[in-house]
């Protein structure tokens, strides 16, 4: 009897492929194939709503068009601003809340669960409801703001100066708990003996924070920001329902613009090129970020 096959039934190798196969097949069919399809279409002048018309190969024309279009760079700018402010606010508030929750007062488990609620909700439905809160005539948000300082009438969604902030506020409200939870895990991972040693060495609380707490939380915070960065680069649902990219194109993020080109103007070839560019951007940035993050972790 061979040593390898000592148990009855299928060999381990067969079981491994049997178990992994279906998942890989589905991912290839519903994720990778469409991606390759999109890359192929990005080199053609295909219109998905014109059935029967043979698409023609146009080379890099779509890519050149996308990159030379000023409007695209405006959308990228809007996306970059949105990402900058949401990530900054969520990092600061999330870390702050985590530090406070880490004081282990009574009831902090319950409060953590309550704080986390917004991020589990449907972003599209959240967007709809915030249009009510932001309503310039009857909205609760406007009422509360005016209660503390009378700005008079203002329209968070309708004014092109305020609209970018309206989406930053909602996103921060929803997702700060995310960074908070992950930072909290980081804080709890710091072994107590580090602080004990610091106390013996008469390090001040502030020094302990700078030299022990912060370096231990940093990798966790960076991980949280990676997740949020990817999500907000793709941001679509909440903003579509809240401002639908308006007024004008003040809050038209890259993926909202992509949806317009692809599903309203049906410029399939052109929008595929845009999608590929977005995908390469996110993948490129993501990879560089992970490398930097690992460097920091090693230190």
């Amino acid at each position: 009897m061979s040593v390898k096959k000592k148990f009855k039934g299928l060999s381990d190798k067969a079981v491994a492929w049997l178990f992994i196969g279906p998942s890989v097949f589905l991912l290839l069919a519903i994720n990778i194939y469409p991606l390759i399809y999109a890359i192929r279409m990005s080199f053609t002048n295909f219109y998905a709503n014109k059935i029967g018309r043979e698409p023609q190969f146009v080379g890099l024309k779509n890519y050149i068009k996308v990159l030379n279009k000023e409007a695209i760079w405006e959308k990228m700018q809007v996306t970059a601003n949105f990402m900058f402010w949401t990530l900054l606010l969520q990092a600061l508030i999330g870390l702050g809340l985590a530090l406070l929750l880490n004081r282990k007062f009574k009831g902090n488990e319950l409060l953590t669960t309550l704080i986390v609620l917004p991020m589990m909700l449907s972003p599209a439905v959240v967007g709809v409801f915030w249009t009510y809160l932001y309503n310039p005539q009857v909205g609760l948000f406007n009422y509360v703001v005016n209660f503390f300082y009378d700005f008079g009438s203002f329209d968070m969604i309708g004014s092109s100066e305020l609209a970018p902030w309206s989406i930053v506020i909602v996103d921060t409200w929803m997702w700060t708990p995310f960074t908070m939870l992950i930072c909290l895990a980081g804080l709890r991972s710091v072994p107590n003996y580090l602080y004990e040693a610091a106390e013996v060495d008469r390090a001040s609380k502030w020094q302990q924070f700078i030299y022990i707490t912060l370096p231990s939380v940093l990798p966790f915070l960076l991980l949280a920001l990676l997740f949020r960065g990817i999500e907000n680069f793709k941001m679509f649902d909440m903003v579509v329902e809240l401002t639908s990219g308006g007024p004008g194109s003040a809050t038209e993020l890259a993926s909202i613009n992509l949806k317009r080109e692809a599903f309203e103007k049906w410029k399939t070839g052109y929008s595929s090129a845009f999608a590929v560019i977005l995908f390469v951007t996110i993948f490129g940035f993501g990879n560089v970020y992970v490398k930097v993050m690992n460097k920091i972790k090693e230190r």
């Binding site: 279906p22 589905l26 998905a48 902090n108 439905v125």
Partner: protein, 314 residues
């Protein structure tokens, strides 16, 4: 006496201060959600009064409006009708309207249920198989495969929506429950595989090895020993998949219209006379968010794992 207290323990003053700030934050962050729930119990007029009404006479008008279609009628016509038989008919009549039929909400809600449960079951089942294989066997290119599975989550949904739209049109899967179940299953697969792999890594190998020495085959050991051991992890993963499918909007709005549309694209379209019907939207929102809030409370111990794809465990 308090001398035994470790100097690492925060002082009671700093604890109290922290607790106060956290409580204030919690209250502020819950206001929008509570406001949605409150609005669902207002009548149309009190929902658009200014300053916003905190105290109001509760009404079920929002819920009635959510579930029915109504049309406005003249007073003479209303007088000519027989007396209303139910409380909701009476409520609608008092607004000079009659109920013309049920609204689409129930259908959209049950679509969300069917697609949510279907895709959750499929992704957890397939995910558990793959996770087990990654956890226990030497798979060639394991790390690359795992990263590939994770990277599919980075695609902006709109980027692959057009090809999927065309593919589905060819296959006859456009605007069908099956099509959406397959799509959400695939989107959730990466989460399911990564989370479940973490949970399976924690189950000692010795369990199934003992079973196999007792004469179980590998498959029997997996189904009879490993799966029951992994039940907590499977339940947590299932809830995460369910919440994702339940909340998904981009694919739903782009790929479905009449037949398989779920609730998220439908709720924003609830329109009353002269603008959006806020109590009805509040009612739809409340009914839609309630399951997720309950799930979140059940999940609280596994939240961290779920939101980081298993990268951070407690």
């Amino acid at each position: 006496m308090d001398t035994s207290r470790s100097y690492l323990e925060p002082s009671s003053f700093s604890k109290k201060l922290a607790a106060t700030i956290i409580i204030v934050y919690t209250v502020i962050t819950l206001i929008p959600i509570s406001w949605m729930v409150m609005t669902s119990f207002k009548n149309v007029n009190s929902a658009i009064s200014y300053p916003p009404e905190v105290l109001f006479e509760p009404s079920l008008e929002g819920y009635v409006n959510l579930f029915t279609n109504r049309s406005r009628q003249s007073q003479e016509y209303l007088d000519s009708l027989p007396a209303p038989e139910t409380w909701y008919e009476e409520l609608v009549r008092s607004r000079e309207m009659v109920i013309t039929g049920p609204s689409k909400f129930l259908g959209r809600y049950s679509n969300s249920m069917i697609i949510g449960f279907g895709s959750t079951f499929a992704s957890v089942f397939l995910g558990a198989l793959a996770a087990y294989a990654f956890s226990r066997f030497r798979v060639p290119l394991k790390d690359d495969l795992l990263f590939f599975i994770l990277s599919t989550r980075m695609f902006p949904p709109i980027a692959v929506a057009v090809p999927i739209f065309i593919m589905y049109r060819k296959l006859g899967l456009g605007d069908t429950h099956l099509g959406m179940i397959i799509l959400y299953t695939v989107v959730n697969l990466s989460l399911a595989v990564w989370l479940l792999k973490g949970f399976m890594d924690e189950i000692p190998k010795e369990y199934e090895e003992a079973a196999m020495i007792d004469g179980y085959s590998r498959l029997q050991a997996f189904f009879k020993v490993v799966l029951p051991q992994a039940m907590t992890g499977i339940a947590a993963t299932a809830i995460f998949c369910m919440i994702f499918s339940w909340n998904e909007y981009a694919f739903a709005v782009l790929l479905t219209q009449f037949n398989a549309q779920t609730a998220p694209p439908f709720i924003p379209t609830i329109i009353g006379e002269g603008g959006l019907d806020w109590p009805a939207i509040g009612a739809g929102t409340t009914l839609f968010l309630l399951p997720v809030m309950i799930f979140t409370i059940i999940l609280r111990k596994h939240l961290l794992r779920g939101i980081t794809f298993g990268a951070v465990r407690k």
